[in-house]
């Protein structure tokens, strides 16, 4: 049982519980290695990385070590990594930073299934004199590289297509898209929040890439934008000129160290953890599709290993999440009832999932801590709770 934090009072949620957490695309638990790496930077090496004294220099050194480690794993140079407050900021920096370099106006291409950090930024730019092309996806959620080619215009500034989708897991042909952009001399940005540390990334055709630590068993509120050398962005935050003038603000050293350690861990375990996740995903797909009135949303195989998205006929997703929660299982849904504006997930809508099925969607996302016992437990509980809800639904399966 977790007790809400009371400011001014030390209160202990015990942290450990018997919950089965299958919502790792939303966020992940911090790995103990990451916590351990971060801890000294709160109270002993707490310096400001800009300070001249040794306390500051220690912080600076740790930050640069993290930067180098990340760069090494991506096969890029450290200077190309710009630390940010997370992927929302990194995506904003890529799109707005590109737009603000112009005299106003120009064309951008993105897809219908981007995370809101890209989608709403592009939408906002469209109200500010920029033309935005939204690429459709096929029924598995894939953008076609040929559509990118067709959409390119002489005034196209940027193409932004995510590496792997956060709701359905579908991988995008970013290698091909990147090559087309390179050929046409157009910037290519990819939101790799869910793909980083899980699948390979074709860095040689990517100009900008956004990552967030908290999806990777790192801390919340920190991430980075990879910015290829030579790519010019207008900064969004002006101030002390941190991050080579690309992002001012005293650096979040514990966070940056945590991001570095989370990266090290993810890449060290990548093959092993991804293989396990893929096995869980296959097991889930087989298990869920055995039930009547179900469907898989997204691509059966060309997918991130940790995300599986299903729909259940005749039931609504928010109540399904609450039923699972009764059994201490945490997952998520793209149903309209669960969203603040009561609209169904734009991703499921873009796939052409019928609305009735979009209402009954369930996203299961695994993490490095997920066990096969947890997957089995979910597959035991799911048919029971689905039936409970179908029993009180006016709609009948297949009807």
């Amino acid at each position: 049982m977790l007790i809400p934090y009371q400011f001014g009072r030390i209160s202990a949620g015990d942290g450990m519980n018997n919950k089965i957490y299958l919502d790792n695309s939303a966020t992940t638990p911090l790995a103990s290695e990451v916590l351990e790496a971060m801890t000294p930077f709160f109270q002993s090496s707490y310096g400001n990385a800009s300070s001249l004294h040794s306390t500051g220099r220690d912080a600076h050194k740790a930050m640069e070590q993290s930067r180098s480690l990340i760069a090494e794993h991506l096969g890029v140079t450290p200077h190309e990594i710009v630390f940010t407050s997370g992927a929302t900021e990194a995506d904003n920096l890529a799109l707005l930073g590109t737009a603000l370099r112009t005299n106003g106006g120009g064309h951008m291409i993105t897809s219908r299934i981007e995370h809101d950090a890209v989608r709403h930024t592009a939408r906002w730019l469209a109200t500010r004199g920029f033309d935005v092309t939204l690429l459709d996806v096929d029924e598995a959620g894939r953008v076609s590289a040929q559509d990118v080619r067709k959409a390119l215009r002489p005034d196209t500034l940027l193409v932004s297509v995510m590496a792997g989708n956060n709701e359905i897991g579908t991988l995008q042909p970013i290698q091909e898209i990147g090559e087309i952009c390179r050929e046409r001399d157009v910037l290519f940005h990819t939101d790799a929040v869910q793909a980083y540390g899980k699948v390979g990334l074709p860095m040689d055709v990517i100009d900008m890439l956004a990552v967030s630590a908290h999806k990777l068993h790192g801390p919340k509120g920190v991430g980075f934008l990879y910015v290829r050398k030579g790519v010019k962005l207008a900064p969004l935050l002006h101030g002390g000129g941190h991050e080579g003038g690309r992002r001012s603000g005293t650096e979040n050293i514990p966070g940056i160290v945590g991001l570095g350690e989370a990266t090290r861990l993810a890449f060290a375990e990548k093959e092993q953890v991804s293989a396990r996740m893929r096995q869980f995903r296959d097991q889930l797909i087989t298990g869920v599709l055995k039930l009547p009135g179900t469907r898989l949303n997204g691509h059966p195989t060309d997918s991130l290993p940790h995300i599986a998205n299903f729909s259940f006929e005749a039931i609504e997703g928010e109540s399904l999440i609450m039923k699972l929660d009764e059994h201490d299982i945490a997952a998520s849904t793209g149903s309209a009832c669960s969203s603040p504006n009561l609209e169904p997930s734009h991703v499921l809508v873009a796939l052409g999932v019928p609305l009735s099925m979009a209402h009954g969607s369930l996203r299961i996302s695994t993490g490095r801590q997920t066990t096969s016992h947890e997957i089995e437990k979910l597959l035991q509980v799911l048919p029971v709770v689905v039936q409970e809800l179908r029993d009180i639904s006016p709609f009948k399966v297949g009807g």
């Binding site: 609504e316 928010e318 109540s319 609450m322 009832c337 169904p344 009180i392 006016p394």
Partner: protein, 167 residues
């Protein structure tokens, strides 16, 4: 975000399921918009000739709040005279549940509407004169449904899906 009372009703909903020998049924909502409730009432006259809702049940496709409000509205109407039941509002339903998040208030409206529609249908079936308040609310519900359908029309066009729920 939900009160304990909402969660209790969601976990153990009262009067759930279909009824075979109902007197009238109220169908509101639309699967395309995401919430559908069918409410069954069984009405009998007592010794003094008053119409009493002797039994009530429901089937709901919707969120936690929709299921909890279905349960609550059935509690509130059961055993009441039809006139008393007409007076049940969505505010009553919500406050009996200890409140609902603002974004979920429309789910309580769905429950109160279903009750209204069931009674409206009962009056029509019996060839009774329909009280003005009931008629007014019936018209209002129809208008809201049309608005909802309009709101979701773009989605519906895209998927070619037919609205199901309120006939």
């Amino acid at each position: 975000m939900y009160t304990d009372k909402v969660i209790d009703h969601f976990r153990e909903p009262h009067n759930r399921g279909k009824m075979e020998d109902y007197s009238a049924i109220g169908k509101v909502g639309n699967i395309v918009c995401g919430d559908v409730m069918w409410l069954y009432i069984k009405v009998e006259q007592d010794e003094s000739g008053r119409d009493i809702i002797v039994d009530i049940s429901w089937e709901t496709f919707g969120c936690t709040a929709a299921i909890a409000t279905s349960s609550m509205v059935s509690d509130l109407a059961k055993g009441k005279t039809v006139e008393e039941a007409i007076a049940v509002t969505n505010q009553d339903v919500a406050s009996e549940l200890g409140g609902l998040p603002p974004v979920k208030m429309h789910c309580s409206a769905l429950a109160a509407d279903a009750l209204n529609e069931a009674i409206h249908n009962y009056f029509i079936q019996e060839g009774r004169e329909i009280p003005a308040a009931l008629q007014e609310r019936h018209a209002h519900i129809a208008k809201e449904m049309a608005q909802l359908e309009e709101r979701y029309a773009a989605f519906t066009r895209k998927s070619g899906e037919k609205p199901r729920g309120c006939e």
